[in-house]
């Protein structure tokens, strides 16, 4: 594969053949705005916010899908480009609720960011605006299609990464929208609520129900940890505000990258639950009493010892948890066979 040399904003760059203008520009430190582009998803080229001017070309190509050619002269912020970008932003804002004050996405919204960057305000094109009902008929995801800019990232992540394909484009023209089959809602469409669509949504169209009103993006601390559920060991960021976990998202690295399952992403209600067990309890005279770990383990040793003595080790059965790692399962197997002296060991094989 030969290399290609081109210029972007009069700066020369040499990149491998097949590199897009967007990537080549990034190598020069030039930031081109994008809505629908995602390196993990197939090339789409739909939002057109990333259009650039190429000398000698009539059209303004989308830089996320146009590969550089030898000698190409690209301008990422020319007058023509700025007019197009501003117009596209005006068009998107013309059909977008004026809701930034209370929108969950404020501060992390690409539409907001680019409107600010290019000095675009709502109001350039008065006219029809969508008035879809907000879809919240499931426990996890809130879909407000009035805020959707139809970048199609949710559609692609659902089909290309998660492999569920529960959403796709429906209807035409101004009425085009992302929907489940027959608009029947996520619950009926076989959604597994992994939340990957929420993760990739650049605007406030997809938000997490649990996080509504729980904190602005800039108020949250992010604490990277390992998901407490299965043994896969997904890396998650716990989002913490004033000492309380208000949500979680994928850490973007580790085995899981940007993806999580429903439990890893949404199953953190137990952390601050009033009934959560924080100390070992031992039942004495029919009543549970808080004890120390030392005391609790001694109790377990004593009771298992008695059973083994009276009935033999085979009287004890061991059930391993899927939440623990392979190594821990191995140790449990040793404990069962060598210490407890039983062959009855199995795995619950579910989360």
């Amino acid at each position: 594969m030969s290399d290609i040399t081109c210029t972007i904003n009069d700066k020369s760059v040499t990149v491998p053949r097949g590199t897009t203008i967007l990537t080549a520009a990034a190598m020069l430190g030039i930031d081109i705005p994008t809505f629908c582009h995602d390196p993990e998803l197939s090339r789409y080229g739909g939002c057109r916010i990333c259009v650039v001017e190429v000398k000698g070309w009539g059209q303004l190509p989308a830089s996320c899908v146009t590969e550089v050619r030898e000698g190409m002269e690209v301008y990422t912020e020319s007058e023509k480009v700025l007019e197009a970008r501003r117009t596209i932003l005006e068009l998107l804002l013309a059909n977008h609720p004026d809701d930034c004050l209370t929108c969950e996405k404020t501060g992390a919204c690409r539409l907001q960011e680019y409107a600010y960057r290019y000095g675009v305000r709502k109001g350039a094109f008065p006219g029809a605006c969508h008035a879809y009902p907000v879809e919240a008929d499931n426990p996890f995801i809130m879909r407000d299609m009035n805020k959707c800019i139809l970048c199609g990232k949710c559609v692609r992540v659902c089909s290309e990464v998660v492999g569920r394909s529960v959403i796709d484009f429906s209807f035409r023209g101004f009425h085009a929208k992302v929907a489940t089959p027959l608009d029947s809602g996520l619950l009926n469409a076989g959604c597994v609520f992994c939340g990957s669509c929420v993760e990739v949504c650049p605007v406030g169209a997809l938000t997490e129900k649990q996080r509504i009103g729980k904190g602005r993006p800039w108020e949250l601390d992010s604490v990277t940890t390992t998901c407490p559920y299965c043994g896969v060991g997904c890396q998650i960021n716990l989002l913490v505000k004033e000492g309380r976990v208000v949500g979680a998202n994928a850490a973007g690295h580790g085995v899981n990258g940007r993806h999580l399952c429903v439990k890893g992403r949404y199953g953190h209600g137990f952390i601050h639950h009033p009934e959560r067990l924080t100390n070992p309890l031992v039942r004495k005279n029919g009543q549970l009493h808080e004890v120390t770990w030392e005391e609790a383990i001694q109790e377990v040793v004593r009771r298992f010892g008695r059973i083994k003595q009276e009935y033999g080790g085979q009287a004890i059965g061991v059930l391993a948890s899927a939440r623990i790692t392979n190594e821990e399962n191995y140790l449990l197997n040793k404990l069962a066979r060598l210490v407890l002296g039983t062959n009855h060991i199995d795995h619950c094989a579910r989360l």
Binding site: R43, Y44, G45, G46, C47, R48, I49, V51, G58, Q59, L60, A62, V65, T66, E67, K80, E83, A84, T87, I88, L91, L92, A94, N95, A124, F125, P126, G127, A128, I149, L150, G152, D168, F169, F171, R172, G173, F174, H175, A176, K177
Partner: protein
């Protein structure tokens, strides 16, 4: 009746399993493998039945079975004619046949008597007996003969001005053969180009011939067909596809439909030749479901071609395999765009993707694919038959060949016409089309549907070819030609086309989805007299951005109707914006109806017909229109016998 395609006797062994390379020629000029006067006679009889040579006793009553004539009752007419022929005892020498479209749809149902070439228009089932009498005694039925506005009558097909200006090479079979009989197509020379290609040419030679012919895609873009084929041939992949784009969606265009309905085998033959040239073994025809008759005839054509071994394995013992499947569209205009069409065949939502890669590198199922329009493919057998040199004698240097246009709008003779490329708009509109209806003045012609532009009087002497039209901001498009008279409002026309593209936008890219909506809203405001000069500036900016940044051809070309009307009819836009006036009197909100008291006799006809009771007045006293109630329907104007109702 024995089918020409069936084996003549036990000595003929052709079948799809044991194909004979001489099969097609043998059917018309044979038999070759054995000598039998009887078999030879059978062939001659059949060919005479189809070609109807003059001088013989045999006559044919051709009834047009195109969609236009079918909807004006040609199916019933066929029954009546057959009945009348039987009653007259002429069934042994007179046949009644239903064919494809004659193009002269305005005057349908059409009946054409062969071999004399007598041409009857607007025929009703009740006329059947008179027509049969004509065949018996030679007396032409004068009242059914075509007459022009001046009253001149034209009994013969070739004399009618509508046909006299045309060069029928693609449409020659439409209106002459039975499209549901493969034997008719073979009898008039069909599938001979395929034989020539399979027996005497290499794929490279076929591509060279098409390249030499200068054939350019008839779907609108005018891309050189040979170049496209050569690119697909070069792609080193085992599986390749040929797609026939029959998703003809432009409002007012019906060229492809008529070809498929009238001569489906010419398209199949073109596809097989394309398959041979690029090394493909599978073709798809993507036809819109709104064309039920075309689909029916394609299905029957594919089935018959398979039955006699012209599609399938080892075609005519050449070792070449090719088959065709039909895919019905689901009614999306955008599926006429190549990549959206391919997505639709794959079972996905019909949305265009970014090019490159071009379809010839990665098309259907990511395999190299040649996508040609119906009319382009129908040209292929012709070019092979005539030779590129002969073909180039038609049309212009850069746009050789003919082009079929669907003429519609305010014309005397709307219909389907085939003319050599390079004819002027004036020749087509005022010659073949017969000029503007009702003695009105020409105002504009809209070419190429929602992607095309509107041209004005100053362009009438422009030659119609790919390059001349694009130089003035129009496009040949797929061949729709909507002619408008002085009564048309160009702002309203632009609004109409924008409403169409907005509705048909797939929604993938922002400028097309959102931009066309705002353009449409501005145009609607103009038509209501609510627009400002700022709106006009916004409209022009939106046109620019939508054109420059849309993903596919639909979006990139959809501002054309606005841009061209703004360029050539700007004063009309200004009248709507500044004076709040629609000069053509089309935009309802800008029109006011009033009654001239001096002319009104108080007859009450307008009052009686007004659907919203907006007219008041005593009998024999001048009436008046209540503006607050009037819905500007114009009924009063059309009903008034004293010209007392005035539109301003």
């Amino acid at each position: 009746m024995i089918n020409l395609m069936d084996n003549c006797c036990s000595k003929c062994t052709h079948s799809p399993a044991t194909p004979c390379s001489n099969y097609v020629l043998c059917r018309t000029a044979g038999p070759f493998c054995h000598t039998d006067k009887g078999c030879e006679e059978k062939r001659k009889n059949h060919i005479n039945n189809v070609r109807v040579p003059s001088g013989g006793n045999y006559q044919q009553i051709i009834v047009c079975g195109g969609t236009g004539c079918t909807s004006s009752g040609s199916a019933r007419l066929v029954d009546s004619l057959k009945e009348a022929v039987n009653e007259a005892g002429l069934s042994d020498r007179v046949a009644v046949k239903r064919t494809g479209c004659h193009g002269f749809c305005e005057n349908g149902p059409i009946v054409h008597i062969k071999p004399e070439g007598i041409f009857y228009t607007r025929v009703k089932p009740a006329d059947a007996r008179d027509i049969v009498n004509h065949l018996a005694d030679g007396q032409i039925v004068e009242r059914l003969v075509y007459r022009d506005a001046a009253g001149n009558s034209y009994p013969h097909f070739h004399e009618i001005p509508f046909y006299a200006g045309q060069t029928l090479i693609l449409l020659t079979n439409c209106g002459h053969i039975d499209p549901e009989q493969i034997s008719d197509y073979v009898a008039v020379g069909g599938y001979r180009s395929l034989v020539k290609v399979l027996q005497h040419m290499t794929p490279e030679q076929v591509i060279e011939e098409i390249q030499l012919s200068g054939l350019r895609g008839r779907g609108g873009a005018g891309f050189p067909t040979g170049k496209k084929w050569a690119a697909a041939r070069r792609a080193a992949r085992e599986i390749k596809y040929i797609i026939c784009n029959a998703d003809e969606g432009d409002p007012g265009a019906f060229m492809d439909r008529s070809l498929l309905e009238g001569d489906p085998h010419s398209v199949l033959e073109g596809m097989i030749i394309a398959g041979f040239a690029v090394g493909s073994h599978q073709g798809y025809i993507y036809c819109r479901a709104e064309y039920p008759l075309a689909i029916k005839r394609l299905k029957s054509a594919i089935q018959q071609a398979r039955q006699w071994g012209l599609l399938g394995k080892n075609i005519l013992n050449s070792g070449f395999d090719f088959d065709i499947d039909l895919k019905e569209g689901a009614g999306a205009f955008v599926c006429g765009e190549g990549t959206a069409l391919q997505a639709s065949i794959e079972g996905l939502r019909g949305m265009p993707r970014v090019k490159p890669p071009r379809s010839t590198e990665k098309g259907l199922w990511e395999k190299p694919t040649v996508l040609n329009n119906v009319e382009t493919l129908a040209n292929v057998p012709l070019i092979i038959q005539m030779g590129a040199e002969e073909y180039r004698k038609l049309g212009t240097e850069q746009s050789p060949g003919t082009k079929i246009f669907a003429l519609s709008g305010s014309l005397v003779n709307p219909g389907l016409v085939e003319v050599p490329m390079g004819k002027t708009l004036r020749e087509i509109i005022f010659g073949t089309g017969g000029g503007i209806r009702d003695g009105k003045a020409f105002k504009a012609v809209q070419l190429g549907g929602p992607s095309g532009g509107c041209l004005a009087e100053q362009h009438l002497d422009l030659p119609v070819d790919f390059d001349s039209l694009s130089s003035v901001g129009a496009t040949i498009g797929s061949g729709g030609m909507v002619v408008m008279d002085e009564g048309a409002c160009m702002v309203d026309v632009a609004r109409f086309f924008l409403a169409f593209t907005q509705k048909e936008s797939c929604g993938k890219c922002t400028p097309c989805r959102e931009g066309t909506k705002r353009m449409l809203e501005i145009l609607e405001r103009m038509c209501r007299g609510e627009a400002t000069l700022d709106d006009l500036a916004d409209l022009e900016r939106l046109c620019r951005v939508v054109k420059n940044t849309s993903l596919c051809g639909l979006g990139q070309a959809c501002p054309n109707p606005v841009l061209s009307t703004l360029q050539y009819f700007r004063e009309e836009y200004m009248a709507h914006i500044v004076e709040k006036r629609c000069p053509a009197g089309v935009c309802a909100e800008l029109v006011r109806y009033r009654i001239d008291e001096n002319l009104c006799r108080g007859c009450g006809l307008c009052l009686k017909n007004c659907p919203v009771q907006a007219i008041r007045g005593q009998r024999k006293q001048p009436h008046a229109i209540d503006d607050s109630r009037c819905i500007k329907c114009g009924v009063c104007l059309s009903k008034c016998k004293f010209k007392a109702v005035v539109r301003s």
